[in-house]
């Protein structure tokens, strides 16, 4: 944390312009209340109705209680979407991004390494380009044509051409998301590693520990906190991934890559089942709020 402590409170002088508070904070509160908080509340209401975009229920939505939730929790389609989301988070964020991000952060600390800036920039690039461009680049790499980058690569090793997005859709989007998120993991771990004293690592080296042992018994225990917070945060963001996957597969083929975020979009806007889509949103919201609360409690921020 780099924030500087607030000057000691002097209530007498502070209170001087109390009247200005609504003027200063008002616009922010209003914007957040209307466009962020109100939709969340409205979503909870909608999830209890059979609202549709078109048709009979569009004109006269009925209150249906927990019917939508009952339907969703008994729907194989929705449960599968939760399963896909779980797989996607586990393999792309918790395993893939974490391992590669940590590797990058550790390697970039090597004092003898030349060209750190270039390596860092290369790893950063996937994170900073817009989602749509990222998806477009991978659409070309994973193209089913023989001259697609992926097919050329496996051609070099004598493999037969494939259509990755059709044949291994889940694996494909997992790899694409790993690619996009390595940099975020790397940045977080670099910040955490700065707090690990070099002397400690030197000392354990002198005692004869290998690189893996040093990491396992010295480095990792010292950065456990930041790593855990990173895992929470990356889980939350990965559950919210939409554009990258929607652009590449639109949830298909079939519903093989239908993450919950895509399930919500398709049911609400393509099949016009607003009530059902809202209920799915509320389930997602509750799951994420739980994780988010844990994150906010554990992240030691000063206010």
């Amino acid at each position: 944390m780099t924030s500087v402590p607030v000057p000691v409170a002097r209530p007498g002088r502070r209170r001087r312009d109390r009247g200005m508070l609504p003027l200063l904070l008002g616009p922010s509160v209003l914007l957040i209340a209307v466009f962020v908080v109100a939709p969340a509340g409205y979503g909870i209401y909608l999830s209890l109705t059979n609202t549709q975009l078109t048709g009979f229920a569009a004109r006269d939505p009925q209150f249906v209680g927990l019917d939508n939730f009952r339907y969703l929790l008994g729907s194989d389609d929705f449960l599968a979407s939760l399963g896909h989301t779980g797989q996607f988070v586990l393999f792309s964020a918790i395993i893939g991004q974490t391992v590669l991000g940590m590797l990058a952060a550790l390697l970039l600390r090597r004092t003898w390494l030349r060209g750190k800036g270039l390596f860092g920039a290369a790893i950063l690039l996937p994170m900073v380009v817009p989602e749509v461009v990222a998806a477009l680049t991978w659409a070309s790499v994973l193209s089913s044509r023989e001259d697609g980058t992926f097919n050329r690569l496996i051609g070099l090793f004598g493999g037969a051409s494939a259509a990755p997005l059709q044949e291994w859709p889940m694996l494909s989007i997992i790899i694409v998301n790993i690619w996009r998120g390595i940099a975020f993991a790397m940045i977080m771990f670099q910040a955490a590693l700065e707090d690990v004293p070099d002397e400690l690592i030197e000392a354990s080296r002198v005692d004869g520990a290998g690189a893996i042992q040093v990491f396992r018994y010295v480095t990792l225990p010292l950065i456990r906190g930041p790593v855990f917070l990173y895992l929470l945060l990356t889980t939350i963001t990965t559950v919210g991934v939409f554009g990258l996957v929607y652009f590449l597969t639109q949830g298909g083929p079939g519903s093989a890559t239908q993450l919950t975020s895509i399930y919500i979009f398709q049911h609400a806007f393509q099949y016009s089942q607003i009530g059902l889509g809202s209920a799915a949103s509320v389930i997602l919201l509750v799951l994420l709020m739980t994780l988010g609360l844990t994150y906010v409690r554990l992240a030691k921020v000063d206010v």
């Binding site: 924030s3 914007l31 817009p130 989602e131 749509v132 477009l136 709020m289």
Partner: protein
């Protein structure tokens, strides 16, 4: 460490960097290829794709739309953000802590979890399918990060400077203008960059809120062009992707120093 180990580690890092870079080959090569296709090929060098982007009847509009939306949303976001952050930094009031933690919590809720209700709400208040609606939504979505970031920046500006200005007869707003604004630069630059990039790259919100092709930003325009599978002009698509990356790149170039100096750590790291 042995030379072998160093070599292995360098190879590992190089492979990682290549994995990150190689996917961009298509965009980079096809944008300057007169005969671009959907996959990587040696380009017949030409700037024709870029010319076509700017002379086409529809595509420059996408760029202008993206700029209107992102610049307005960023301006609104910063204007509200700096006032709000000042209040959060300098006033001690009941519920301040609760507010700070609440917006931190809001920040971690991704768009897909509220997008359905947001759309219907916008239809109700007649703000769907309009620039104004999208700008308000985008400005609000990025506000929690802006408030946290700017609050940290203002905390670091000594309160005594403002008090001194009051002594000299400045009003509170006068002191904000004379003391805070000039010193808040690095934080403002960082907040501007983060907000602009988030709005510029957003895909889901404009996809849901906008229906008229006239209003589409570049993200949706590129998606539509790509989905029209049979009639895709791959060269122009790649050139559009390159053009799409230019404004954030320029902004990054200008504001990079500020970004490092601000208390970004507090906003991201927690």
């Amino acid at each position: 460490m042995t030379t072998l180990q160093r070599a292995m580690q360098t190879v590992l890092l190089t492979m990682l960097a290549l994995f990150c870079l190689v996917p961009f080959a298509w965009v980079a090569l096809s944008a300057v290829d007169a005969n671009a296709g959907p996959t990587v090929g040696a380009p017949t060098f030409s700037l024709q794709n870029f010319t076509e982007f700017f002379t086409n009847a529809d595509t420059p509009r996408l760029l202008v739309n993206s700029l209107i939306i992102s610049v307005s949303a960023t301006a609104l976001n910063l204007a509200c953000g700096i006032l709000g952050a000042y209040a959060l930094s300098r006033f001690r009031f009941r519920g301040r802590k609760f507010f700070m933690f609440s917006i931190l919590l809001i920040r971690v809720i991704p768009a897909p979890a509220t997008i359905v209700a947001l759309y219907l709400l916008m239809v109700r208040i007649n703000l769907d399918n309009s620039y104004l609606g999208l700008i308000l939504v985008e400005a609000a979505a990025a506000l929690p990060v802006t408030l946290w970031l700017l609050k940290g920046t203002i905390d670091a500006i000594p309160f005594e400077l403002e008090e001194a200005a009051w002594m000299d007869g400045s009003t509170r707003f006068g002191a904000i203008r004379k003391i805070i604004l000039p010193l808040v630069g690095p934080g403002l630059g960082a907040a501007a960059m983060l907000t602009f990039m988030a709005v510029w790259g957003d895909f889901l919100t404009p996809l849901v809120l906008l229906q008229s092709p006239d209003l589409y930003p570049l993200s949706i325009g590129l998606f539509r062009a790509f989905s029209a599978f049979n009639q895709v002009d791959w060269g122009v698509l790649a050139a559009s992707a390159v053009i799409y990356m230019v404004p954030p790149a320029i902004l990054y170039g200008v504001l990079r120093r500020h970004l490092l100096r601000s208390s970004l750590g507090g906003a991201i790291k927690g």
